[in-house]
């Protein structure tokens, strides 16, 4: 079960995720991100992964798609607060170098 919360911080949208991001829940997360990007068209989308215990390949795919769609609408995607297991998955797939990753949500909001 995935817990997703969204809020606005000025021109930025913040999506906080808690739980396991795998094949079963990507549809739920995809809808939230799609709707946020479509309705708010944020200059900056911050996805806070602090509560994520595990992410599989479909979850990674979803984040890549999120980056693409934010890019297209002229915004930026920042990820923040990667827990150790998630960080490991990112390192293994070299995605650490594909995304802009920040240690804290505040850093992610500032680092526009």
């Amino acid at each position: 079960m995935l817990n997703i919360q969204t809020r606005q911080e000025g021109a930025a949208s913040v999506v906080s995720i808690q739980g396991k991001v795998n094949f079963e829940v990507t549809a739920q997360l995809r809808d939230v991100i799609r709707e946020t990007v479509a309705t708010v068209q944020p200059k900056l989308l911050v996805i806070n992964l602090e509560g994520v215990s595990f992410i599989d390949s479909s979850g990674l795919g979803l984040l890549v798609a999120a980056r693409n769609s934010v890019d297209k609408s002229g915004g930026k995607l920042h990820l923040s607060c990667l827990p150790a297991p998630v960080k490991k998955t990112f390192d293994q797939t070299n995605l650490t170098n594909y995304f802009s990753i920040f240690a804290t949500e505040q850093d992610a909001l500032r680092g526009a």
């Binding site: 390949s57 479909s58 798609a65 070299n94």
Partner: protein
């Protein structure tokens, strides 16, 4: 057009006539019988949708008729209404416990019977519709299952034939897709220059879509490798192929390697995939030291601009290469831990020299580590032994 057929069973002719009159006027096709025996004979000629039967009749009573109709599979679904002169709850329950679907107490009003028949037919229609939909669903499900089985067999056909042999090495695999069909694929192909091209890949997601893309990955790899060159060029070419032909969320992690039987080195590219293990002298079995063939690189199909890097590792005669997909080591146990690379290395520290026995041992030991959790993701294990 008749609405449906009703069999009226009563030993009193006036009652049969009255009910027939009303039912016919309402559009039903009506059959009649004077007792249970006649009713059964009538049913031998044509099968009614509904039976209205008196209880007390000579030759065969209504409850006996009801019992026979409801105990025979071919007539069990006929809606059965009992006409009973015995009013009161007890006899109603008695009638229904015989298996009748409804009761009408005598004396009755013909309109009441008609209303009941109408409402019964609505139920009968509903039942028929549900049954029809059920049949459709069952046959659809059967078709999907057959197609999945066919697809799974086709996918198995994409894997190299075992026992696998290439110049200077032999190999085997264990392929366990999570849903009968999966996104894992590997290929080992001899090249014209005498070397061997190797690839293992894991497509994001599961099921049919992942399986389709895995077939594309394999084709792309074969095309690239046959052009010659080194794994770096193959990775770049495959990345372009996949970026062109897959949706944005779909990509594959992969490991690509080239084994030259005249060299002591193995050249490889890691594209977001679990790094394979080199077991030094592993083909000889026993206690062995392993190395992780690390490297950094993006998965394939993400972005056509992304760079890849080629690595080189020592790979000597008698060495063993263990390629795998993350499903093997990423099963979360009840204590929330996973086997991971470190655990796989522990298992690989002592394996039989026989390649098939070694593959069985790896699967058995990862399974027993994971217990009680089963493999949830597609699992592929490939072991390649370089001849001594």
């Amino acid at each position: 057009m008749a609405k449906g057929s009703v069999l009226v069973v009563d030993d009193e002719a006036p009652i049969r006539d009255i009910l027939s009159f009303y039912l016919k006027r309402a559009g039903y096709q009506v059959l009649t019988a004077a007792n249970g025996m006649e009713a059964l004979e009538e049913m031998g000629r044509s099968r009614p949708d509904l039976i209205i039967s008196d209880l007390r009749m000579p030759e065969m009573t209504g409850d006996e008729l009801c019992k026979r109709v409801k105990s025979e599979p071919s007539t069990r679904d006929i809606y059965f209404i009992i006409l009973s002169a015995m009013d009161g709850t007890a006899s109603r329950i008695g009638g229904l416990s015989l298996g009748a679907d409804d009761m009408i107490p005598k004396p009755f009003h013909a309109q009441e019977v008609l209303a009941k028949v109408d409402s019964s037919f609505r139920l009968i229609e509903m039942q028929k519709e549900i049954k029809r939909q059920n049949r459709e669903l069952t046959s659809f499900q059967q078709k999907v299952q057959e197609e999945m089985a066919l697809a799974a067999a086709l996918q198995m056909g994409l894997l190299p034939k075992l026992p696998g042999e290439t110049r200077g090495a032999k190999y085997t695999h264990r392929y366990l897709p999570a849903a009968g069909i999966g996104g894992d694929i590997y290929a080992i192909i001899p090249l014209a220059d005498g070397s061997t091209a190797m690839m293992i890949a894991d497509v994001s997601g599961h099921g049919v879509t992942a399986a389709l893309i895995s077939a594309m990955v394999k084709t792309s790899f074969e095309n690239q490798a046959r052009l010659g060159g080194e794994p770096l060029g193959w990775a770049q070419g495959m990345n372009q192929d996949l970026c062109r032909s897959t949706l944005v969320e779909q990509f594959a992690t992969a490991w690509l390697g080239r084994l030259d039987p005249t060299s002591e080195k193995l050249r490889y590219v890691v594209a977001g995939h679990c790094a394979p293990l080199r077991i030094v002298g592993g083909a000889r079995g026993g206690l062995q030291r392993s190395e992780v063939l690390r490297g950094k690189g993006f998965m394939l199909g993400l972005d056509p601009q992304l760079p890849f890097r080629e690595n080189e590792a020592e790979f000597l005669p008698g060495d063993r290469l263990v390629l795998y997909t993350d499903g093997l080591v990423e099963v979360e146990r009840e204590d929330r831990t996973m086997l991971e690379e470190a655990g796989l290395r522990r298992i690989c520290a002592e394996l039989p020299g026989d390649i098939e026995a070694a593959a069985d041992a790896v699967i058995a030991q990862t399974r027993s580590h994971n217990q009680p959790a089963p493999f949830l993701d597609d699992v592929t294990l490939v072991i390649l032994d370089r001849d001594s």
